[in-house]
Every structure is written in C-alpha cells, then in structure tokens.
C-alpha cells in the first residue's frame, strides 16, 4: 500500500502541476480577449469548500477510530465508525457533485477553457479516489456483518485506512493550492519561456 501511495503522490503531483500551469494561462488568455467562460475567482466558493474540507478531515478521524475499534476487537465500534466514514465521504462527494453542477450552469463546461479542463481533471480524479474509498469501506462494513472482519484481520482495515487518509491529505493540498491561494498577474507563454531560460542560465 505504501508503494501504491508513493506512485499516487507522483500521479497527483503531475495533475496539480498541470493545473497550476494552465490555470494561469487561462486567465491571461481571457485578459487578451482569447478566452471564454467564467474564471476561477468568479466561481470558487471558499466557505462552501471549507465545509467540504472539514467533512473530509473529520472522516479521517472516524476512520482511525474504526481501526482502533477493530484492533481492540470491538466490532460494534468498528462498524459504527466505518459507516460514519463512508457517510462523510459520501457527503463530500455530494458536495463535489453539487459544485460541478453549479459551475456547469455558470457556463464552465469541461472544454470551456484551460482552467476548466485542468480543474475538472484534478478534482474529478480526487473524487474518483474518494468514490473508490467509499466502496472499499462499505465492502468492509458488509463483510463485517457477515463475520468476515475480526481483530486478527485488523491489517486489512489499516490498509483501507491508509488509502483513506491519503485521499484526505491530497485534498489538504488541493484545497490550499486550488481554492485558497489567490492568483494574479500571470505571464504569457513567451514570458514563461524567457523565465525558464533565465532560470537555467541560457538567457
């Protein structure tokens, strides 16, 4: 699992890098009259997303309490906290669906501009990870009802927990970089190229 998470770090690293590069370009193109559709600062709703971030953060706590429950052999505690984690994950997903729905009705389709493409790809892939996590947790819950999860198999729950916490820490980064940090005065592609050349000492 740790090796998988290591590879997933690089996966999300590439998505975040792409988003950060193209979001700026989208804003610059818009300023030059080449872009279309709404821009990030016109759409992103900080208070709303803060609640989503809080929900996902709390789901990490319920997940670790579920693990503590199964490690002590307390099946009831495990089931309650696992179900709670899946519920909080589902609330987060519902919030994301609502956000996408609102953005779409504001005129931001997937191919509207480079911000929309990279934003939907990044947050969509994160949502996909959360969806897989919810399915995984519900599977554990159902298996436990059939007597398939016992104290001796706590490692299975720990592995699911590691995945869930990873999804949470990825959102910590996305929430900060995508939603909280403001963007302005983005250079053009030509300026960016010149900047890169100066950076490596060729200009």
């Amino acid at each position: 699992m740790w090796l998988f998470l290591t590879s997933d770090c690089m996966f999300f690293g590439s998505l975040i890098a792409t988003y950060m590069i193209y979001r700026g370009r989208a804003e610059k193109m818009f300023e030059n009259g080449q872009g279309s559709g709404p821009l990030p600062h016109e759409l992103l709703d900080i208070p709303y997303t803060s609640v989503s971030a809080f929900v996902l953060l709390m789901s990490s706590m319920t997940m670790v309490l579920a693990l503590a429950g199964i490690q002590k052999g307390d099946l009831r505690s495990f089931r309650v906290w696992t179900l709670m984690t899946a519920l909080l994950g589902s609330i987060f997903l519902g919030g994301q669906w609502f956000e996408f729905h609102e953005f779409y009705h504001e005129g931001l389709g997937y191919t509207t501009n480079m911000f929309s493409m990279t934003f939907y790809t990044l947050t969509g892939f994160h949502g996909f990870h959360v969806t897989l996590g919810v399915i995984w947790l519900m599977s554990l819950f159902i298996v436990s009802l059939r007597g398939g999860v016992r104290k001796e198999q706590a490692l299975n729950v720990e592995i699911a927990g590691l995945y869930w916490h990873f999804v949470d820490i990825v959102w910590i980064i996305i929430f900060t970089l995508v939603y909280l940090i403001p963007y302005k005065d983005v250079p053009t592609i030509q300026e960016g190229g010149e900047h890169a050349l100066r950076f490596i000492g060729l200009m």
């Binding site: 770090c9 792409t18 990490s60 909280l180």
Partner: protein, 126 residues
C-alpha cells in the same frame, strides 16, 4: 498444527504494532487541532492585511504543511511505524513535489501571487 505455529508470530507482530499507536483520545485531540488549523486558514484568507503584507501564501503553505504532516504522522501512524515506510513515502513526496516545482519553474507561466516578486528579487537582472 503447522498452520497454528505459523500464524502465532504474525498475530504477535500485529499486536505489538498496535501497542505503539496512540489512543482514541489522542486521535480526537489531533482532529480538533486539524479543524482549528482549517478555520485559521479560511479566516486569514479574508484578512486584507495578510494580502497586503504578502503573508497569505507563506502562511497558507505552512498551515497546510502542518495539517499534512499531522495526518501522516498520527492518522497514518508513520510516526510510530518502521522508518522504512516513512522513507518510502518521503521518496514519493519528493518526486511528486519535485515534479510540481520543476514544471512550474520551467514553464514559469503560473506563479502564485507574491512568489513572482520573490523570484524577481532573487534572480539577477537580465
């Protein structure tokens, strides 16, 4: 019998690993701290002084880094597990972080707010 003899040490190892993990109260305390940090993050976003003094971006990056490493250390138990696992994860983080920084440096297209000014000061005049 052979199966029992084979399983016994595995169970003992798993039990020992749980021994080092923090208790439920610690998890709740950590969650409260994380919630407070999230509230601070959102609150400082609305403080104009933070924008004016170019403090918002560094503050947000530090706060999110604290949240990140708190979750990794306590909820993912990396603080209590063998160091090999920590090294494994750190390698992934370095590659992922390096990827972001190198792309941003090379394209130079999208600088975060005040980061551009910092770079401008750091770089020799062309």
């Amino acid at each position: 019998m052979a199966q029992v003899a084979h399983d016994a040490p595995l169970h003992a190892d798993a039990h020992d690993a749980h021994e080092g993990h923090p208790g439920e109260l610690t998890y709740i305390k950590v969650a409260v701290i994380l919630a407070i940090i999230t509230i601070i993050e959102v609150a400082i976003y609305y403080i104009q002084w933070m924008h004016d003094k170019d403090l918002l971006v560094p503050a947000l990056i530090i706060l999110s880094a604290v949240k990140f490493f708190t979750v990794v250390s306590y909820f993912m138990h990396l603080k209590f597990d063998p160091r090999l696992l920590a090294y494994c994860f750190i390698v992934g983080l370095l590659f992922g972080g390096g990827l972001i920084l190198s792309f941003m440096g090379l394209f130079g297209v999208h600088e975060i707010d005040y980061a551009r000014d910092l770079w401008g000061k750091a770089m020799p005049a062309s």
